[in-house]
Each structure stands twice: as structure tokens, then as C-alpha cells.
């Protein structure tokens, strides 16, 4: 017992980090790698032939067995109803032939069941067999006789093709498609406009508010508590609240905007593209400016007062103090706040999803909203993942740029 404890103690650091590493591995790193893999495949859940990741070719054995059974069944029916002896003879030969094909198929693929992985050459052989069967069926129905199940037979026979699942590896095709997808370009530009305007407004307002809060003598605790509220409430709840204030028939903000002439009718606020995007930005500024102000305020409060006192003895005025003391010392806090805000704004999802749903007519979709719709409404996971991957690369570049500018270690040792 004590030996185990001693071992634990000697390697305590590793014992302590293992749970975190396992969680990060399982729920961050592996999904990210898996998503990256999706991006190179034409992976679509709603398409039977593409609903998995197939690096190699596959053959759907159960479906094949079922199809052969049906073909035989319809041939039997036709044999019972046709008029001429020639036709009956042809059908009987055909039934034997098809049984032979099926055995042939099984000997190629071995005794495996389920969806069987196989080589491209085997798939070509199977395709040739399928062609022969198709030809035999077409020949049968071109004979001069009375048939009752031609439509059913053709429908069943076409299933033979469905049994073949070819590799859906498509290399960089998803990325090529993204570059020429106008909706990607559009949603990306909406995301950038949203990010730029909202973060810019939040920074300016947050900085101003932080400076004022820093001067405020009374009620600092109250101001802080109030400032936390918009940050703390769920984004989806905030979005719903604003959608009520913005709505065209009873929203007070929509009515107020229309009364002061910002928009024509109250209904225009959420039903025209520009106004709707403006509304989203406004809701975001409302929710995040106080958070920004709190972060900057915390940075302000660690600037030693002595710096201001000695500089004012040297005859510096308030503006000079702001430029030469406050701003340089505040730079790290501002940059960290900016970094996190930019990343948050760039991946904006909840706010738009609940407030406008991307509407009107898809005009306020961010890249996240579009990617989500591609993945979960159209179930095109391959294409959606490629889009998200490009987003992640953009996020990486933004972070890298900020950290370079910051030029400080985010965490001190």
C-alpha cells in the first residue's frame, strides 16, 4: 500500500495532469482531428452511399442478398404469367444464370457479411456482373410476350448499383468548392463586418466607461454588479429579449427607432438586411460592453497612483498623463480583452441563431450559422467541416497576430 502511495507521490505531477489530458484528448483534440478528416470526404448522412467515411471501396452484402432474392421472385412471377414456351425457357435459364452470378460474387468477396471492404478491381468485376444482369433483364422485356412486373423488376435491379459503395474520399474538392461558394463569401463578410464593428464599439465604449468608473467614488460595487448582469445572462436569453424589443408590431425599440426616423416602419428593423445586422450588433454591444469595461477597469486599478502624482509634479496635464501613462500601461489588458472578444465575435452563433435565425432570407448568417446549417440541416458533414476548418485557421491567424502584438506571455510562470 505504502509503495503505491510513494510511487504516486514521486510522480504526483503526472498523476495530477492525467485526468485533464484525457478530457482534452477525448473532447478537444480527437474531435478536431476527426473534423479535419471529414473535410477531405464527401460525407453526407442523408445519402446511403456517403453516410460514412470510406477510404476504400465497399460492397453492401445484406442489400445485395435481398436484391437477388427479389429478382428471382419477380422472375418466378413472370414465368407463371407469360404465354410462350420460348420465354419460359429463357426465364428459367436466366434464373440459373443469376444464381451463378450471385455465387460468383460471393466467391470474390469471401464469406464476410455486412458491408464488406474490397478492392477497386473487385468492384469493377461486380460492376461487369451488374451490367450482364441488366442486359439480360432488358432482353427479357424486349421479347414479344405479356409481362406484369416490368416496373418492379427494373426498380429492384437498380438496387444492385446501390450495393456498391465507392470511396468518398475527394481530397481538396470541399475546399475548392468553398472558395467558389458565394454563400461562404457572403457569410464570411457578414462575420467580419459584425466582428469589426461590434468589437470596435465595445472597445471604445468600454474604455470610456472604465475611465469614468475608475473616477466614480460612490456606488462602485453597485456599478460592478450591474455591469456583470448582461455578461452573465445566457446569450440565447438576451437574444430572445432583444427580439421582443425589436419586433415590428409591439417592440418598443423598433417603435422608437421608427419615431425618430432611423427606419421607416417598425417592421423594417428585423425585415431588412442592414437594419437586422445593425440590431444584432447593437444587442452584442449591449451584452459585452460592460464586460469589456470591467476588464479594462481591472487593468486601470493596478496602475500605481504614484505615477500620476509624480508626473503632475513635473507639470503633465490630464491628456498627457492619459497618453503617456494610462494607455501604455493599459495596453496588455486591452489587447487580451480584444483578443478574447475578437475570437468570440468571430465565431458568433447563439445570438444570430436566436435573434434572426440568419434571416431575413439568410442575409444575417454568420459563417458559424451557415456551417451549422450545412452540417445539421443538410447533414453535409464533409463540406461543413471543411468550412469550420477554414474558420479555425482564421482564428489561429487572428490569435497569432494578437499574441505577436502583445509580445507578453499570457501566463506568467
Amino acid at each position: 500500500m505504502s509503495k503505491i502511495l510513494k510511487f504516486f507521490d514521486r510522480h504526483l505531477a503526472y498523476v495530477m495532469i492525467i485526468p485533464a489530458i484525457i478530457l482534452i484528448l477525448l473532447f478537444s483534440i480527437l474531435p478536431i482531428l476527426e473534423s479535419t478528416r471529414y473535410a477531405f470526404f464527401d460525407f453526407q448522412l442523408n445519402d446511403q452511399k456517403k453516410s460514412g467515411i470510406y477510404m476504400t471501396s465497399n460492397y453492401n452484402m445484406p442489400l445485395s442478398d435481398e436484391t437477388f432474392e427479389y429478382i428471382d421472385y419477380y422472375l418466378e412471377i413472370e414465368a407463371a404469367t407469360v404465354q410462350k414456351a420460348d420465354t419460359i425457357q429463357y426465364i428459367n435459364r436466366m434464373r440459373d444464370d443469376i444464381k451463378g452470378y450471385q455465387l460468383n460474387l460471393k466467391s470474390i468477396l469471401g464469406s464476410q457479411t455486412g458491408v464488406v471492404e474490397t478492392s477497386r478491381e473487385n468492384i469493377q468485376v461486380i460492376q461487369a456482373i451488374n451490367k450482364d444482369i441488366k442486359f439480360a433483364i432488358d432482353l427479357l422485356y424486349s421479347m414479344d410476350d405479356v409481362f406484369y412486373s416490368e416496373e418492379d423488376m427494373q426498380a429492384v435491379a437498380s438496387e444492385l448499383e446501390t450495393c456498391i459503395i465507392e470511396s468518398n474520399f475527394i481530397g481538396l474538392d470541399n475546399f475548392k468548392q468553398i472558395l467558389s461558394d458565394p454563400r461562404v463569401i457572403y457569410t464570411l463578410s457578414i462575420t467580419l463586418i459584425f466582428t469589426f464593428i461590434s468589437v470596435f464599439c465595445e472597445l471604445l465604449l468600454g474604455l470610456a466607461l472604465a475611465l469614468i468608473m475608475n473616477k466614480a467614488m460612490k456606488g462602485r460595487g453597485l456599478i460592478r454588479t450591474f455591469s456583470l448582469i448582461p455578461w452573465a445572462i445566457p446569450t440565447s436569453v438576451a437574444a430572445l429579449m432583444w427580439s421582443y424589443l425589436y419586433n415590428g408590431s409591439s417592440g418598443i425599440v423598433a417603435t422608437a427607432f421608427s419615431n425618430i426616423g432611423l427606419i421607416g416602419q417598425p417592421t423594417e428593423l428585423l425585415l431588412t438586411a442592414k437594419a437586422a445586422l445593425g440590431s444584432i450588433i447593437m444587442a452584442d454591444v449591449w451584452k459585452t460592453t460592460p464586460y469589456m469595461a470591467l476588464l479594462i477597469l481591472a487593468g486601470l486599478q493596478v496602475i500605481p497612483n504614484a505615477l500620476y502624482e509624480s508626473s503632475s509634479l513635473d507639470g503633465a496635464n490630464k491628456i498627457m498623463q492619459f497618453r503617456h501613462i494610462t494607455l501604455p500601461l493599459l495596453k496588455p489588458s486591452i489587447l487580451v480583452a480584444l483578443l478574447f472578444r475578437t475570437l468570440d465575435a468571430f465565431r458568433v452563433f447563439d445570438l444570430i441563431w436566436v435573434l434572426t435565425g440568419g434571416g431575413p432570407g439568410g442575409t444575417t448568417e454568420s459563417i458559424s450559422v451557415y456551417a451549422y446549417k450545412v452540417m445539421f440541416a443538410q447533414t453535409r458533414f464533409g463540406y461543413g467541416s471543411a468550412m469550420v476548418l477554414i474558420m479555425a485557421i482564421a482564428v489561429g491567424m487572428i490569435s497569432y497576430a494578437y499574441i505577436k502584438i502583445l509580445d507578453v506571455k499570457l501566463i506568467g510562470e
Binding site: 474531435p31 455591469s227 440565447s236 460592460p290 493596478v302 445539421f376
Partner: protein, 274 residues
């Protein structure tokens, strides 16, 4: 006096700022007590209603909102408990112990906190479907992805603040490293652990994307998702929407008022170098 005037201006700005923050809540609160007939049309903008009613709140009891609040509470609590524990261990090792690959671990933690969540949603959804874990409380596991990095950062800064002498004197007394951690460091870092727990709790409580995707059955909706579904496609009952908004907001308000100090210290611990 210029100063007096500036002070007055600042006071006005602060009051205006506070008003803008609370206005949406007040207006939504007012609406939640109006009968449906007064929410639309000419009376929509009246502040007071002569026929105040509790009908929207009563209707919520029939709807799934209460159940979704229960789900949110369970999921947030479970996640908070295990994430705080895992993060405490990891953060202590980072702050105080020596091990190979510390910088790599820090870089990975930082990077995962920056990645868009959208990138993990697809694979996690597919795995959950395969394992039959959708519409269950297993959703707490992937929530580590959003909460763990933040909790680790908050805790690293707190463990780093505990004076090193405490550990040194304990090790002279012959205490094992594990004992030192449990008996000496943990109690001293308790405020930091509490801060990390609150930030984690709020993070999970507010999460939307994973919840929307993994728990799509309305019996397993969390509050944030359930409330978003009140906004139907064709008809919106603003009375119920506003009442639900109030109900969902109140727990958050209580947490903010009670734990204001811890939340602010948690939010700023990464941003300010002390």
C-alpha cells in the same frame, strides 16, 4: 469649477449606462404581467396595465421550462464538480510541480480555449449517436471542452499566489507532496477554487450550441435551448416568452449578486498581470 462639472457629467453618464443595462429587463418584466391582448396593438407600449395577470407564469408550469431548468441545474452542477476537481489538480501541477512537457500542455490548453466550438460539434454528435448518448446527461463530458481551459487558467494564477514557504516547511516536516497539496495548499486556494467553480457553472448554464445539437429531445433541453424554442415559426406568444425570460434570468441574477467579487476576480485573473 471644471471638476464639479465633469463629475456631474460622469454621474449622468453612469446613470444612463445603468439604465441602458437594466431597461430590457424592466420592459420584459412589465410585459410578462400583461394579458396577451395588451401585448399587441395600441396598448403594447403602455407601461402599466390595468389588468395585470399571472397567466403567463402559470402557463410556464405546463410548458417544459421548469423541466429544462432542472436539466440545466443538474448538468451545470455535475460539470462544475468534476471540472473544478480536474482543473485544480492540473493547475497545481502546472503552478508548482515539475514535469516534462509543461509548456506544451499550457499551449494545448490555450489553443483549445481559442478553437471555435463548431469544429468539435460534428464528430462529437456522430460519436454520441453511435454510443446512444444523445438526449442524456452524458453531455456534461464534452462540456469540459469549453470550461476546463478557463478553470485551469484561473486556478494556475491562484495556486501561484500561495506562498512557497508553506510547502517548504511542510516538506521539512516530512509530509508527502500529496498531503501538502490536500492539507495546506487546497484550503489556502479555496477562494480561487470557488471562483473557478462559479465561472464554470455560468459557462455551462449559458451554453447553447452543444445542448442544441446533442440533446434535441425536448425532455432533455436545457433552459437556454428550451427558451429559444418558445419563438415558434409562425406565432410568438410574447407573454410566455417574456415570463420565461424572467424565470431563466433570476438564477443568474442571484448568482451575480451573491458572488460578484469572485466572478470579477475570475474574469480578470487572466487579463491582468499582477
Amino acid at each position: 469649477m471644471v471638476n464639479k462639472r465633469a463629475e456631474r457629467l460622469f454621474a449622468i453618464i453612469i446613470v444612463l449606462y445603468l439604465l441602458i443595462i437594466v431597461f430590457p429587463f424592466i420592459w420584459v418584466g412589465i410585459t410578462s404581467f400583461k394579458p396577451e391582448s395588451e401585448i399587441w396593438g395600441t396598448e403594447a407600449l403602455n407601461v402599466f396595465s390595468s389588468n395585470s395577470t399571472m397567466e403567463h407564469y402559470l402557463a410556464l408550469f405546463k410548458a417544459n421550462i421548469l423541466n429544462s431548468l432542472k436539466n440545466s441545474l443538474i448538468i451545470s452542477s455535475i460539470t462544475t464538480l468534476y471540472v473544478t476537481f480536474v482543473a485544480s489538480c492540473c493547475a497545481y501541477a502546472i503552478a508548482r510541480l515539475k514535469f516534462i512537457g509543461k509548456n506544451l500542455l499550457l499551449a494545448v490548453v490555450l489553443a483549445t480555449s481559442m478553437f471555435p466550438q463548431m469544429i468539435v460539434v460534428g464528430p462529437i454528435y456522430n460519436i454520441f449517436v453511435k454510443l446512444g448518448w444523445t438526449n442524456s446527461y452524458f453531455i456534461t463530458l464534452p462540456y469540459s471542452m469549453i470550461t476546463l481551459p478557463v478553470a485551469i487558467f484561473i486556478l494556475v494564477t491562484h495556486f501561484a499566489k500561495v506562498p512557497k514557504e508553506m510547502e517548504e516547511s511542510a516538506s521539512i516536516d516530512g509530509a508527502s507532496k500529496m498531503r501538502t497539496f490536500i492539507k495546506i495548499i487546497l484550503p489556502l486556494a479555496l477562494p480561487g477554487i470557488f471562483t473557478a467553480a462559479i465561472i464554470t457553472f455560468i459557462g455551462v448554464w449559458n451554453e447553447f450550441l452543444l445542448s442544441l445539437t446533442l440533446n434535441s429531445d425536448s425532455n432533455y433541453h436545457t433552459a437556454t435551448v428550451a427558451i429559444s424554442f418558445l419563438r415558434g415559426q409562425f406565432q410568438i406568444f410574447w407573454g410566455q416568452v417574456t415570463a420565461a425570460t424572467m424565470v431563466v434570468t433570476i438564477p443568474t441574477l442571484i448568482i451575480v449578486i451573491l458572488f460578484q467579487k469572485q466572478i470579477i476576480s475570475g474574469l480578470t485573473s487572466g487579463a491582468v498581470k499582477e
